[in-house]
Each structure stands twice: as C-alpha cells, then as structure tokens.
C-alpha cells in the first residue's frame, strides 16, 4: 500500500501494464517528453522509449485509426485524448471501426484498445476542455466504458482496461487528479473486483444516490451532510458505464425505494436517462417516487466563471435527494 495522487496512480498502472506486456504502447499528443498536459505519462517515454510512448502528429482520427492497425498487428495501444472535447475528430474511427471490427469479422479481429479521456469540468478552463461526452460512447455497441473515482480504481482499472480484449473508454475525472489515496499495487488482475462492477461506497437506507467519476466525491460529501439531517444516503459508484452493473443498484433501490442519479453531462439523453429507465423497468413496484436526475443542463459547456451554475454540486444533489424523498425542495408545488 502506498499513498499517491490520482494522476500518479494512473501513471503507475500504465507503467505496470507496460512492464507486464511488451505489446502495450501509448500514443497521443504531447505524452512523451512533456508527459502529457496533465503529466499522466510523466517519465514513461524516458523509461520505455519513443517506440512505446509515441508522441503522434496532431490528429485524433489518425491516433485511433493507427491504433486499429496496431491492434491488427497484435499490439494493445493505449491512446490519450488530450481533453474530452478533442475526441470528436476521432469519433468515426471509434464508432465505425474500433467498436465494430470484432463484430464485423465475426470475432476474428480483436480491438484491445484503451482510450484514456480526461473529462469533466471544474478546472476553470475554456470551451472544449470540460466536457462529459460519455453518453455518446455508452450508446455505441461494441465499446466498454468505465470511469474511475479514486486512486485505487484509477490504478486497478487502467490495468484491467488494457488487459481487456475489447475496446475500453477510460474516463478520468481531471478535477480529481490531485486528490490522494491509498493504492495497493500488489494485486493480480485476477484479484481485483471486476471493472464491470458497481460499488456501494457509502451504505445507506433512505435513498440511493448513483454517480461516477468526479461526482463520487461530491456524492460522498452529500451523504455526510444529509446524515447530519438524519437522512441516510446510499452512494453507489458505477465504475462501469457500459455495461451498467444493475445488480447493486436494484438491490439498493429495492431497499430504499428512491433513486437519485447525478452526472455532469447534459440531462437529455445522458446516462442518467438510461439508469432511470432501466431501474424503473427492473424495480417498478419498489419505487416510491420517480428517479430524480441532477445533472448538467442541456447547454454547451459554459464559460468558466459560470461553470458552477452548470455542474451539480452538493446543494443541488441534496435538493434532488429532497425531491426523491418528497421533502420540501426547489420544485415543491410544481406538479410532476
């Protein structure tokens, strides 16, 4: 066990994966000497060389497209997309190639590609640097999508993602890069909890609060704050966004009868819709109230001085909890 930052934990996981398998290589913009704009790959080019930590020309479609070719050749490329908002030029290669090649070839061609995406807001950046595009990928059959919320998961799940024979989008909550935590680096892949499993991170009885990535921390804080008021929130960290691990959600909602989902992405068509719809399908008779979504608004990411009015925070989450519980809340009096 050692204490390390979130970003260091990803670095350590990448290093371990590269040590374990010579076919693992990293590709991206500025990931070499600079170590990436967030320093996630710091020191790796120095230690593994420029053939395994590849600074690419500035073209995202080519990063993913060449990764596909490398996968054909037996490599396991880990592609860094510098910021969430720069993934769209690669969308075609991800959606039409990476996601579909295994199906297209009836399983002949595997695509063990990991796509690392620093995502989400809260760091005061200009446009395109704070987006939450995960729902585009969770709706894309053939991809796996995960998001990590703490250093241990960051470490374990990057290793699991790289080891996975399917393509994995790995969403990193960039505003949590500097948080620290305990990391056990001595686990075999086999010992780790499946990267497809959701986890109850705060047990509770009154309401189920589901989230992932950057808002797990906020949700924990909300649970603490609510406890002061005598409300017991069960917080679930989804970890896997596609597929969703519904078992712990169902179990929780059957107990609490109430569900709040929170994410930074826009509400309409966001992952929260899938969770609400699925849990309603699976737990209809247990629900005491409609699932509540506390999310970013249906707007392009706003200027940094306004981002606090877009991002769900502790107060907005608690307001959502009140709504789920039928307690006085900001929408009291509105029918619904």
């Amino acid at each position: 066990m050692s204490t390390m930052t979130f970003s260091r934990a990803i670095n350590a996981g990448l290093r371990k994966a590269m040590d374990d398998d010579p076919k693992v290589l990293l590709m991206g913009e500025d990931i070499g000497k600079l170590g990436g704009v967030f320093r996630i790959t710091d020191g790796l080019q120095k230690d593994f060389g420029a053939r395994r930590v590849v600074d690419t020309p500035l073209a995202e479609s080519a990063i993913l497209g060449t990764a596909v070719g490398l996968a054909y050749r037996g490599y396991r490329p880990v592609c860094e997309i510098q910021f969430d908002g720069f993934i769209y030029p690669a969308f075609d290669q991800i959606v039409a190639q990476v996601a579909k090649l295994h199906y297209r070839t009836q399983g002949k061609v595997k695509m063990p590609i990991t796509i690392r995406v620093p995502f989400g807001g809260g760091i005061g950046s200009p446009e395109h640097h704070s987006e939450s595009p995960e729902a585009y990928f969770t709706h894309t059959s053939g991809l796996r999508v995960i998001s990590v919320s703490n250093p241990q998961d960051a470490y374990s799940m990057i290793r699991q993602a790289i080891a996975c024979d399917d393509p994995v989008l790995y969403f990193e909550p960039k505003r949590r890069y500097h948080t620290k935590g305990e990391v056990n680096e001595n686990q075999d892949l086999a010992q780790m909890p499946s990267m497809e499993s959701a986890q109850v991170v705060v047990p509770g009885t009154d309401v189920t609060l589901v989230t992932y990535g950057p808002l797990v921390q906020t949700a924990r804080e909300a649970a603490m704050a609510a406890a002061d008021e005598g409300i017991s929130i069960e917080v679930i960290d989804l970890r896997s966004l596609a597929p969703l691990d519904f078992a712990p959600l169902e179990a929780s909602v059957r107990r609490t009868g109430r569900l709040v989902i929170t994410h930074e992405a826009a509400q309409s068509g966001g992952l929260g819709a899938e969770i609400a719809a699925s849990i309603t399908e699976r737990c209809f008779s247990y629900l005491e109230a409609a699932p509540v979504r506390v999310t970013g608004f249906d707007i392009p990411y706003p200027a940094s001085k306004l981002e606090k009015h877009h991002l769900p925070d502790l107060d907005r989450i608690l307001d959502g909890v009140d709504r789920a519980l039928g307690r006085p809340n900001s929408l009291s009096g509105l029918e619904g």
Binding site: A59, V68, G69, R73, Q97, G107, D165, D166, P243, L244
Partner: protein
C-alpha cells in the same frame, strides 16, 4: 516564385504516366522499371493474364448472381484488373492488405476462398473472410478509414523489426477524406513501411476525379514528404514494377510510397448504380479501347505467347472458378437468428446477455404461438 501547379491537366495527359506496354501491346523499355520485371518470363506473363481473366470472370459472375437475386449487391472491378493483379501479385505472403470494397481482384491474389468472397455481398455476414488467413483485412466501406489502419499496422511492423510491408488500396474519391491525408502525415512522420495504392478509376460514384483534384493525385504525396509514382493502371507490368519498387523501399527502411494507378471504372459504381445518369457514353468507349486485358493479349500476341493452349487453359480455369464460386454462393447456409448477438464483444457483456436471453424467449413464444395456430 509561387509554386503553382494549378495549370490545367484535364484528362491527365498520358505522358505523365509510366507505361511499359502501349495500348496496342508494344513493350516499351524503362530505365528504372525494367529491372523489377526480370523474372517475368512467358509463364509468369501467362499467369498474370490468367489472373486478370479469372477476376474479370469472377466479377461478371458476381454481377450475374446479383441480377439473379443471389447477391444483395456487388461492386464491379471491371476495367481495373491490371491495377489489382499487378499490385496484388507483387505482394508477399507476410505483407498485409487494407483495402476498400472494390479490391476483389486483390483478395483473389491473396488466395481468398471464393465463397468467403461473396458472403458479405449476399448479406450473410458483415465481412467474409478471416483477415489473418490471407493477411488481408475485409472490405472497408467507410471511405479512406483503412489507410490509417495500414499505417498503424506498418508502425507495428516497424516496431517488430520485421521486413514485411502494409499496403492500402483506396480510390480517387478517397483522397479527399481527412483520414487519407492524416495517414500520409503519420506514415511520413514515422517513416513506416506502407504503400498507398490509389486506383484512380476516374469516378467516385457520380463524381469525376476532377472534382476531387485539379492536379494529378500522385502529386499529393510529395508535399507530405512521401515519394510517389504515377503509372498506367491498365498496364499490368507497370503496376507490378511500381508496386515492387514501393514494397522494396518499405522493406528496406525507405518508408512509405504513394502509387497512383490511372485506370477506369468501366462498370457502374455498384450493381445499384446507373452511370448513364451522369457519364458520357463516349468516355466509356475511349476507355474500352484501353482495356487492360486486351492490352495484355496484344502483348502476348506480339511475343507469340497468345497460343490456343493458353487461351483454352485460362478459359477452363475461369469456368471452373466461376462454377465453384456460384456453387459456394448458392450453397451458403442461412445465418441463424441468434447469430445477431455473437461477437459484439470478446468477453461476456451483461447488457447483451439479457437482450439475448429476452430475444430467445421471444422467439420461443413466437414459435409456440405459431405452433398453436
């Protein structure tokens, strides 16, 4: 001072292209190219001829199968036989091909099973063969996407220190896509062993090549730092030599090469297309006069090699191939309903398992309901 290349080049004046066999079948010697053809004796020339006749026959037979409702669609390669055989036969077994949908002649060179060739066009599967069995990726429909795959594969070859090469096929329309240009950037930056093989067949569905570029396509590559060759794509020897030159560069650390093979799509874009809506009949006639097979026949005739024996043998092979292909096509078993769920992932996926389970129950219910009627 201005590096100006916008001067009109309409029609791509022939002199620009490397040609080793004239339209009337005369062999012209070429200082750089000839030495790449020293092994092409009578037998090999006959074999190239056979290949071209056979793939034309495959193409014709497939078109028939489509007309007869046995295939959903077919993209004819009629007219592009020299470009595909000349390049396809330059490849080594351990080279890897990333093509578009029209390179059925190249797939033939790679030794594709004829039934596998048709499975996708019959609608049974999304692609027909195992890429690793013949070292050729299955047809790519997204225009240009495969050029990046080839470049990445070549990066892998380079990392492995192997001496094989990747080759990617694409059309004149494809050169407008961002992906193709990014592939040139990456290939040049990393100096990887990849050959960019552009079949300029003058049309992208209804769009003439002049809409994509006012200058010869081969001129594109040097500006990326990639040397290029512009060859008569209806001259199988020119194509063969050019591809060998490019592959040799790739194998020996010389990096990428771009080849433009100037040819012509004599048929429709696919069997669903009607070129009379947009194409002048005269143009087709002009190009029919440059038919690559006729040209090779003329060369063989000049050399006294176009014997009745050769013709009979080739016809027999073509007949046999066509017959085998037709039988394989018609004999293909229908896919099973539950196949739709297979191979989305290589490891189990809970979402999909549930949907599979539900659909299987649904099919059972349906069968029960029908049974009880």
């Amino acid at each position: 001072m201005l590096k100006d290349k916008t001067a009109p080049t309409a029609g791509f004046a022939e002199p620009d292209m490397i040609q080793l066999v004239t339209a009337t079948g005369a062999r012209v010697s070429h200082p750089d190219f000839d030495r790449w053809l020293e092994d092409i004796d009578a037998d090999r020339l006959g074999a190239l001829y056979e290949d071209m006749v056979v793939i034309r026959r495959i193409d014709t037979e497939a078109t028939h199968l489509q007309r007869q409702g046995e295939l959903a669609l077919w993209p004819p390669l009629l007219g592009q036989e020299a470009a595909q055989i000349g390049s396809g036969r330059a490849l080594r077994r351990d080279d890897f091909v990333f093509s578009s949908y029209r390179e059925n002649g190249v797939a033939y060179c790679r030794g594709v099973d004829l039934t596998d060739l048709l499975r996708v066009w019959r609608g049974n599967v999304s692609s027909g063969w195992d890429p690793f069995e013949i070292n050729m990726a299955t047809p790519q429909i997204i225009i240009g996407a495969q050029t990046l795959h080839a470049t990445g594969y070549a990066l892998g070859i380079q990392n492995d220190g192997a001496d094989c090469a990747a080759i990617t096929y694409f059309g004149d329309g494809a050169v407008s896509q961002g992906d193709v240009n990014e592939a040139l950037v990456f290939a040049a930056s990393f100096q990887v062993p990849v050959v960019f093989f552009c079949q300029n067949n003058h049309w992208a569905i209804s769009e003439p090549v002049g809409l994509q570029s006012h200058v010869p396509i081969a001129d594109r590559a040097p500006g990326f730092g990639i040397p290029s060759l512009r060859v008569d794509g209806n001259d199988v020897l020119a194509v063969l030599a050019a591809t060998r030159i490019a592959l040799n560069r790739a194998r020996t650390g010389g990096g990428p090469t771009f080849i433009e093979a100037v040819t012509y799509r004599m048929g429709p874009h696919t069997t669903a297309d009607d070129p009379t809506r947009y194409r002048d009949a005269n143009e087709l006639e002009d190009w029919a006069a440059k038919d690559p097979i006729t040209r090779l026949e003329a060369l063989l005739t000049h050399a006294g090699l176009f014997t009745p024996e050769l013709q009979a043998a080739v016809a027999a092979t073509a007949d046999a191939v066509a017959k085998e292909m037709r039988a394989g096509c018609i004999g293909l078993p229908e896919p099973e309903p539950m196949d739709v769920f297979d191979n989305v992932y290589s490891t189990p996926n809970s979402w999909l398992e549930r949907q599979r389970d539900h659909y299987s129950r649904y099919l059972d219910t349906l069968a029960d309901a029908e049974g009880s009627n």
